[in-house]
């Protein structure tokens, strides 16, 4: 059964169902949209259950040749990395839709766009054919653009266009890179071109070509991540987007960039990756510190969380290009964790924004007395985001820092300050919003409703679950990232350092790998 094709098709079918709802019955839109968005989640859970740890790296393989001459195929598969990206996507979309109860204006269009977006994002994570990947990667822009520009806040038109332009400039270079690569692969197969990712792995690309292709691909993904200095679109887009848009942007769309770096840059251009890894590592660390420093001074709570994303995504890039098994695993784990924690923070900010219509930190104060449940969940999410041990944020960042210490010790130490800064900006924001005198403007606000708590529960449970017991996730990530690392090691003379090989006694304690890390956290 072509389960992955079904998975991609389900949101699009759902969008069609929602679009065909009678205009006279607007009240049906929300429950139907929420209902159809559950279908991909069910399939994702099925994939999670059926994915075999001991099996091949790529599973549920599907391959239908679309055009032999151009070498285009509808080629889908799941490995340990895309598995969790798919699950994260399928989980966050129903949550984001559930959080969009207050969207009443053009609700149908809104839900249709959300579901189209979900289908496109799933396509990005599942496609192994580069032109299919690119098609999904690019089309994601359109529903997101419309979501921001139609339901965003004051400066939505500017933010939406900025988002599209930044990302599209990247995709322009990505397309050039893909075409060059496809023509080279075509020479190997004797066809005009070939867009098959697995075939591209096999061809020999000269180092100069690799360098330029790495730049072309890397630019597209770096803008999407966003990596410093390409991050300036992110605070605007996140801040102006409607709540669900921010959740999806931070939770899923940014991951398309880091996923692309892992899947394409590392695997396809190993020589260039090894050569350029220090530069990307430095950019990642600059992003960590810069994002955190900028977050501290934001007067707007949503912008604060947006800048914190720049910081967290910097960790992922650092871990990716540190090129050790631990750091890569940490990166993938952090991709999941960041989706949960930042998603939770954006949801919470959306809930309070619906009540007060202000995001300025100065407009709040003493909120904990007015909305105690809300304050509790917010504090929990802030802790998770800041990487408190026993919560999911800790595992990923810890593994990234430990893993990258082997290759980039200085960068790793500097990045460590990012963790401290994260505690500063989040807790300081908490203090200003939730403690102290109750600001008269916010007195009498209703605490979270049952629906709002229900939205937060799955995220809270997962954040704790992954923080305490990350092993099931790590078991699935590990073979996949190690196959990428192995590919880099066989193609170049790079050798990934391991803990056993260095004399640092302190580090040896963690040498067993993923299952250890949470213990370190608890202790």
């Amino acid at each position: 059964m072509p389960v992955l094709t079904i998975l991609i098709a389900l949101p699009f079918l759902g969008a069609a169902v929602v679009a065909l709802l009678p205009t006279r019955r607007p009240e049906t839109v929300f429950p139907v949209a929420l209902g159809v968005s559950m279908a991909p989640l069910a399939v994702a859970v099925y994939l999670l259950a059926e994915y075999s740890i001991d099996g091949a790296v790529f599973q549920f393989f599907e391959n239908y040749v679309v055009s032999e001459r151009f070498g285009i195929a509808w080629e889908l598969a799941i490995d340990g990395i895309s598995l969790f990206m798919v699950v994260l996507t399928a989980l966050l979309f129903p949550i984001a839709i559930a959080a969009s109860r207050s969207v009443t204006e053009k609700a149908k269009t809104y839900m249709v766009l959300m579901l189209i977006l979900e289908g496109a994002v799933l396509g990005v994570f599942l496609a192994l054919d580069l032109i299919v990947f690119f098609a999904f990667f690019e089309i994601v822009l359109i529903p997101m653009y419309l979501l921001i520009s139609m339901w965003g806040s004051e400066r939505r038109a500017y933010a939406a266009l900025k988002f599209v332009l930044f990302t599209a400039v990247g995709s322009a270079f990505l397309l050039v890179g893909i075409i060059v690569l496809a023509l080279q692969a075509g020479d190997a197969t004797g066809t005009l071109s070939s867009f098959d990712w697995r075939l591209m792995l096999a061809i020999d690309i000269s180092e100069t070509t690799q360098f330029w292709l790495f730049i072309a691909f890397g630019l597209a993904f770096a803008i999407k991540v966003p990596l410093f200095p390409f991050h300036t679109w992110l605070p605007d887009a996140h801040t102006e987007a409607p709540t669900a848009g921010s959740v999806i942007l931070a939770g899923v769309l940014l991951k398309m960039g880091t996923y692309g770096l892992l899947r394409f840059n590392l695997s396809l251009f190993p020589d260039a990756s090894v050569d350029l890894a220090p530069i990307l590592g430095v950019l990642g660390v600059i992003g960590i510190i810069y994002g955190a420093a900028a977050a501290i001074v934001q007067p707007d709570i949503k912008r604060l969380v947006a800048y914190s994303s720049v910081s967290h995504m910097g960790f992922i890039v650092l871990g990716t290009f540190a090129l050790t098994s631990q750091s890569l695993q940490g990166s993938v784990f952090q991709m999941i964790s960041h989706g949960l924690t930042t998603g939770a923070l954006f949801l919470l900010i959306g809930m309070i924004y619906e009540r007060t219509h202000t995001r300025a930190i100065a407009d709040y104060g003493g909120l904990a007395k007015v909305m105690p449940v809300y304050a509790g969940i917010f504090l929990f999410s802030a802790f998770a985001s800041a990487g408190l041990p026993a919560l999911s944020g800790f595992v990923g960042e810890f593994m990234i820092l430990v893993g990258s210490y082997l290759t980039f010790p200085v960068l790793s130490i500097v990045a460590g300050f990012g963790v401290i800064l994260a505690a500063v900006y989040l807790l300081w924001a908490y203090e200003r919003v939730f403690t102290g005198e109750v600001n008269p403007k916010i007195a009498g606000l209703k605490d979270l409703s049952f629906r709002e708590i229900a939205i937060m529960v799955p995220l809270v449970v997962l954040i704790i679950g992954l923080g305490v017991y990350p092993k099931p996730v790590m078991d699935r990530i590990q073979p996949s990232v190690e196959s990428i690392l192995e590919r880099v090691e066989t193609a170049t003379d790079y050798e990934a350092p391991e803990f056993g090989r260095i004399a640092d006694v302190e580090m040896v304690e963690h040498h067993d790998g993923p299952s250890d890390s949470h213990e370190g956290g608890e202790g």
């Binding site: 679309v66 055009s67 151009f70 204006e105 053009k106 269009t109 032109i131 690119f134 098609a135 999904f136 690019e138 089309i139 822009l141 359109i142 653009y145 419309l146 520009s149 139609m150 038109a157 939406a160 266009l161 599209v164 332009l165 599209a168 400039v169 995709s171 322009a172 270079f173 397309l175 050039v176 075409i179 060059v180 496809a182 023509l183 005009l192 071109s193």
Partner: protein, 498 residues
């Protein structure tokens, strides 16, 4: 089965008979459109079917010639050829003509008694356009070009009492006839240098290149350059594009679609026949020149479209950019033909559909069409707004719409030919193009200005059935061939006669 001797000219004959029938019926049976309207529609539909018939015949019998002076051994120059190339052009032009005719339905209603002449001119124009594509003879290309151009000059000025229409017609006529003259002069000089008017075949320009010492290279070069300039003007490639925005803006919205789409299809088909058919051996000499024109068109068209406040002017400048993208396929040589046909066939429908929307929103005879007039279209007519969004995304080259497939095919072909810099310019201008296409989409769906604008904004917009039909066909073509391009690709791949 032996092919019918008249089949090579069946397309033109159908349309000419249709044009005459429309005029006659209008005179005999009164000027009510109920009588002659269907005749014109049937003529367009029948011409497209003739194209299909020609296509099938070429597939089975291998094509044919008309006015072939076989017994005249010195020249031996066929005047009309029927090959897969011309048959494909017939299908595309017939279908586009039919859709454009539907989209001009409202305009005809507004024209009243003069509408019969309008339809007859449209039929004549499309016949002339196809003549340009169905011949290896330079003079016949010129005759087709003039037949179409003169009809278009008149169409542009058909509502000359409204603002801009007479300016549009006059400008088009002055500059258009200059371009035609340049083309004709180029033909004459080419003949002077080579002694042949035929592009390929016995004693043709192609053979001249391979066999003879070129004694007058200067004359030949000037001739080629003049022909190129003439055609570049007609397809509005930069820097020969300045007429397009004014002409598009001033001409009645219901008539611009066929002008914009038809001339591009026929102009590029003729260009491909001249350069890939007659002068393929000199590709290293002319491809760099075309590459520069292509790059210039993409950049100038895109940048100028950014700053337009009028939909028609915006579409005119975006048409300049599209001319650039299509030119890259010719730069790529024969392997690019497939991309060229795919691009042309889909873009023609998009542009006709887009002008049909403009005609529906701003009125079919209107000149100016400010972008602001699209504000709130999503509320006034949600269906039209969604279809227009599809057309805009198609033009912008977004994946899952036909424009993307066309662009990728063009870029792959031209990258394979070694012009990577052209691909980079193409992808970057595509990104900038997103700004103005998305601006249209955002304007249609915008929530802003609900309260500020007058009551006319909130009235629901009723689109007449033929116009709606035209828009739907255009959007379906844009979306369908964006998702499933393979059927069309298989067809266009066999349209490579050279």
């Amino acid at each position: 089965m032996q092919s019918a001797a008249w089949l090579p000219v069946a397309f033109e004959v159908t349309l000419l008979v249709g044009a005459l029938a429309v005029l006659l019926v209008a005179v005999v049976a009164g000027r009510s459109r109920d009588v002659w309207g269907p005749v014109a529609g049937i003529a367009f539909a029948a011409s497209a079917l003739m194209g299909v018939w020609q296509w099938i015949d070429v597939e089975t019998n291998g094509g044919g010639l008309f006015f072939s002076s076989d017994n005249f051994s010195i020249v031996r120059s066929p005047m009309v050829v029927m090959d897969s190339f011309s048959a494909l052009a017939a299908v595309v032009l017939g279908a586009v003509g039919f859709v454009a005719f539907l989209s001009s339905w409202d305009l005809q209603a507004q024209l009243g008694k003069r509408a019969a002449e309008f339809s007859a001119l449209m039929l004549l124009a499309v016949a002339g356009l196809h003549m340009m594509t169905a011949t290896p003879n330079l003079v016949v290309i010129f005759i087709g070009l003039e037949t179409a151009s003169i009809a278009f000059y008149v169409l542009a000025g058909f509502t000359r009492k409204t603002e801009g229409s007479d300016e549009s017609a006059l400008k088009y006529f002055m500059l258009g006839s200059l371009a035609s003259a340049l083309f004709l002069y180029g033909v004459a000089l080419t003949f002077a240098a080579t002694g042949s008017l035929t592009l390929y075949g016995v004693n043709s320009i192609r053979n001249f290149f391979s066999g003879q010492l070129i004694t007058e290279p200067g004359i030949l070069l000037v001739g080629l350059a003049l022909m190129l300039v003439g055609l570049m003007f007609k397809v509005s490639a930069a820097p020969f594009h300045q007429w397009a925005p004014d002409v598009y803006q001033g001409a009645p919205a219901g008539a611009v679609g066929v002008m914009a789409a038809g001339v591009k299809v026929a102009g590029f088909a003729a260009l491909a026949r001249i350069f890939l058919g007659g002068m393929i051996s000199q590709i290293d000499a002319w491809a760099p020149i075309l590459a520069v024109i292509a790059a210039l068109s993409m950049v100038v068209g895109t940048v100028m479209a950014l700053v337009q406040d009028d939909v028609k002017r915006m579409l005119a400048y975006s048409g300049v950019a599209h001319a650039g993208y299509i030119l890259t396929t010719i730069v790529a040589g024969v392997p690019g033909l497939e991309a060229m046909w795919f691009y042309l066939a889909t873009y023609a429908f998009m542009i006709v559909g887009a002008f049909a929307v403009v005609s529906a929103v701003n009125g079919p005879g209107s000149g100016a069409a400010p972008i602001a007039s699209l504000k709130g279209l999503a509320r006034r007519s949600p269906e039209t707004a969604w279809l227009m969004a599809i057309l805009m995304l198609g033009m912008s080259g977004m994946p899952f719409f036909a424009g993307f497939v066309g662009k990728v095919l063009a870029f792959v072909a031209v990258a394979e030919a070694g012009y990577l810099w052209l691909v980079i310019i193409g992808t970057l201008t595509t990104v900038i193009g997103l700004v103005f296409y998305l601006r249209i989409v955002a304007t249609m769906f915008s929530r802003d200005g609900d309260a500020t604008d007058e009551s006319t904004e909130s009235e629901s917009l009723s689109v007449s059935l033929p116009t709606r039909f035209a828009i739907v066909i255009a959007a379906v073509v844009t979306f369908f061939f964006g998702v499933v391009p393979w059927p069309l690709l298989d067809v266009v791949r066999s349209a490579l006669p050279f």
